[in-house]
């Protein structure tokens, strides 16, 4: 989706409710900052925008949002141009879709599909997270936690390999 004020991709989507009037705004980062600072300034005059403070923190929140698996923030991604893990595409979907639309002109994959079904993707993301936790707990010498996490990883891996072998026997591929 493009910014309502210029042609950059919209990163902020605001639904403004002002005296029973509802207005949807889609803004790019630059225009959003301008919009938010403007709405902050007008607050002093009118004092009717009870929500403007939380609006101002929206951008900040957006930057602060972390991927629970790899710990990257959207701000970090923007600074380095590289995502942290596959799960970021889920966590930052709202922010990434306009970006992808801008780069590729489309947002739906139309190519090759792996024979292994992606159904288990949630489990895979969980595995990334658990492996990270396992490393931290070993480093911090929390061995009981580590043992518990290791069991969970093993459990997920077993479930997954069972599901996969089940599928292969039915699947001509």
């Amino acid at each position: 989706m493009k910014c309502g004020r210029c042609s950059k991709p919209a990163v902020l989507h605001i639904t403004e409710v002002r005296q029973k009037e509802v207005q949807a705004l889609h803004l790019c980062e630059g225009c959003a900052k301008e919009y938010l600072s403007h709405s902050q300034a007008s607050k002093a005059d009118a004092a009717i925008d009870s929500d403007s403070e939380s609006e101002a923190s929206l951008l900040e929140e957006l930057d602060q949002k972390l991927c629970p698996n790899c710990g990257i923030s959207f701000k970090e991604f923007r600074a380095q141009g590289r995502l942290g893990c596959p799960h970021d595409y889920v966590v930052f979907e709202d922010e990434l879709l306009p970006l992808l639309e801008n780069i590729h002109g489309e947002t739906t994959h139309a190519g090759k599909i792996p024979k292994r079904s992606p159904q288990a993707s949630q489990l895979q993301f969980q595995l990334i997270k658990l492996r990270n936790e396992l490393r931290t707990s070993v480093e911090e010498e929390r061995y009981e936690d580590a043992a518990r996490i290791r069991d969970s990883i093993r459990h997920i891996e077993e479930t997954r390999s069972k599901a996969e072998s089940g599928r292969t026997s039915n699947d001509p591929d």
Partner: protein, 351 residues
């Protein structure tokens, strides 16, 4: 794989055996893939990187799709060896310069290279001499299938293969063709080609891909979009446009010959003369002169030299190759002398 012996050989893709190889030096397809349950390399710590390398090294050792791949641990190579692999187009500059556990599997003919822990966990590349994208796709698709049969890739129904950079997600494919276009450069007609390619969303880059300078009149044409189109569609876009550029270059070459055959013959002969006799020569001048000589051979103006020799010289006269050939570290000035020596020797062997 013995890195020392590489300085005496060249990749199969330089042998000018493929279709239209007078103008299309090589065709290349690469796929970006990631394992589903690890962070991307730049975000993975040393232990995770080592684990990823080990998992994928085992896949490489299984000779995916029947391709024997020699594994090289890139992180344990010194700078010159890494640079040599870059010069041979077997690893990317990013892969050479980044840090941490990483490696590459390379086929004997240097047609296939599989990088581990580059920007993505896996970067599979297939190269061919000449204009041969269908062959590249058949082979890379089979290798990709073979690896995927054992490992679960990061994939999402909507966004396709998930990559570290959103510019690669979807198919993760980069289809490129390396073209030698001296006549279009000489007549500045190349600008029109650039504009036309830009309109259909194709990128034009230099010999070594992203951010590299156009050297020796070589241009790499590749797709930019990776999401929302099928691999076949993206390949076809390039396949449709390349023959037009090939015939454009051929037309302009013929025009140059019929307008001023003697002048052109003189120019390519002088270039050949300098290469055969110079005592010190920069990399840039070498590229320019080799380009003229390559054009001269293809137009029949030089008849005692073969294209594969010239193709090989483009690679072997680069800094890391020269230093490997000399078995010593050389500064720029010393390299210019070593380069001139090497070229004189190679060109006299042929006569």
């Amino acid at each position: 794989m013995d890195l020392e012996s590489l300085t005496r050989t060249s990749g199969e893709w330089l042998k000018a055996t493929g279709p239209d190889s007078d103008i299309v030096m090589s065709s290349r397809i690469r796929l970006a893939r990631n394992l589903a349950d690890f962070s991307f390399p730049s975000r993975a710590d040393d232990r995770a990187r080592a684990e990823i390398e080990e998992l994928l090294r085992r896949q490489i050792a299984k000779n995916p799709a029947g391709r024997k791949l020699n594994y090289i641990s890139v992180s344990s190579l010194d700078t010159i060896d890494r640079q040599m692999l870059v010069e041979r187009q077997l690893i990317s500059r990013e892969h050479s310069e980044t840090h941490g556990q990483r490696g590459v599997g390379i086929s004997d003919e240097e047609n296939v290279s599989v990088m581990i822990n580059e920007e993505d966990h896996l970067r599979i590349q297939v190269l061919r001499s000449g204009f041969a994208l269908d062959d590249c796709w058949l082979e890379i698709d089979a290798i990709d299938d073979a690896i995927e049969a054992d490992r679960t890739y990061a994939f999402n129904d909507r966004l396709g293969y998930l990559t570290a950079c959103p510019t690669n997600c979807g198919t993760g494919i980069r289809v490129s063709v390396l073209m030698h276009l001296p006549a279009l450069v000489h007549t500045k007609e190349i600008q029109k080609v650039f504009q036309a390619l830009q309109k259909i969303n194709l990128a034009v880059r230099g010999l070594y891909g992203e951010g590299s300078q156009a050297m020796g009149d070589f241009y790499q044409i590749s797709n930019q979009v990776t999401l929302g189109k099928s691999e076949e569609h993206l390949i076809r876009t390039i396949q449709d446009v390349v023959p037009n550029i090939v015939s454009y270059e051929r037309r302009v070459r013929q025009a140059l010959v019929s307008e001023n055959r003697r002048g052109l013959h003189d120019q390519v002969s002088r270039a050949y003369g300098i290469l055969k006799t110079a005592r010190t020569i920069s990399s840039e001048e070498t590229m320019d002169l080799l380009s003229s000589v390559r054009l001269g051979i293809n137009l029949g103006l030089i008849d005692d030299l073969e294209i594969p020799t010239i193709n090989e010289l483009f690679i072997h006269t680069q800094p890391a190759h020269l230093q490997k050939i000399r078995h010593e570290k050389l500064e720029t000035m010393e390299r210019n002398v070593a380069r001139a020596d090497y070229i004189r020797q190679r060109l006299s062997e042929r006569n």
